[in-house]
């Protein structure tokens, strides 16, 4: 299983904080996004934002970064702390 967590405005627009995906057929961040688009077509507009950032196991990652079963993948808008 891959745990996918959402933060801030994205969490609020999706109305959920975390979901779990079967890891079968998933090897990169792009695969995770494709799977989410298929399973949750209503999230399309939020999840196509070119501004979304992604972290894998609490480290910043990219669309082609590898994802494995047991990983925690986080999707969030650009950060605004400080």
């Amino acid at each position: 299983m891959i745990k996918v967590v959402f933060f801030a405005k994205l969490r609020e627009s999706l109305g959920t904080q975390a979901i779990e995906l079967e890891s079968t057929g998933i090897s990169t961040v792009t695969d995770v996004l494709d799977t989410l688009h298929q399973r949750y077509p209503q999230w399309q507009s939020e999840l196509v934002s070119t501004q979304l950032l992604v972290a894998i196991n609490h480290e910043m990652a990219k669309l082609d970064s590898e994802v494995s079963s047991g990983d925690e993948l986080a999707l969030f808008p650009p950060v605004t702390g400080g």
């Binding site: 609490h58 950060v79 702390g81």
Partner: protein, 147 residues
């Protein structure tokens, strides 16, 4: 010293901790405060969300990069989360060094990277409702300067 906390911090205490080392010749500190006006809306409060498992790791990495790049004696970084009101302190960065150039550069480097990499998000409460803040193009440019 890196902390993520809901409580306020004491600038005086943090400053004196940095100044206590006798080889320190320069202390630069930055404090970010909740401003009363943002984009002409009157801000009444600010909510800071973060990604607890990732936040400290992210801040430690930024501080580590600064320590590799400049000759620093010590760095303190405190970032608050939760609900803050106008004029309250959000973030403290304090850097001690033998020479001022290193302390200034490292302190600004840490803030520029925190602003674009550390997983914090601000939601403003104004007279006309709640709004998540958008990232600032100026902040992205500021972080790129250091490459």
């Amino acid at each position: 010293m890196i902390k993520v906390q809901t409580e306020d911090f004491d600038v005086n205490h943090e400053y004196h901790r940095l100044a206590a080392k006798s080889e320190a010749g320069a202390i630069v500190t930055f404090v970010g405060l909740v401003r009363d006006l943002n984009l002409a809306q009157t801000v009444t409060a600010l909510h800071l969300e973060h990604y607890p498992e990732m936040t400290e790791k992210s801040l430690r990495r930024i501080v580590q990069q600064a320590k590799q790049r400049w000759q620093l004696i010590d760095v303190s970084l405190i970032h608050r989360v939760g609900t803050l009101t106008v004029n309250q302190q959000i973030v403290f960065v304090g850097v001690s060094s033998r020479h001022r150039g290193d302390a200034f550069a490292a302190c600004e480097f840490i803030m520029d990277h925190l602003k674009t990499e550390a997983p914090f998000w601000k939601k403003e409460h104004t007279d006309s409702g709640e709004t998540w803040l958008d990232a600032n193009e100026k902040d992205l440019q500021a972080a790129k300067r250091w490459r």
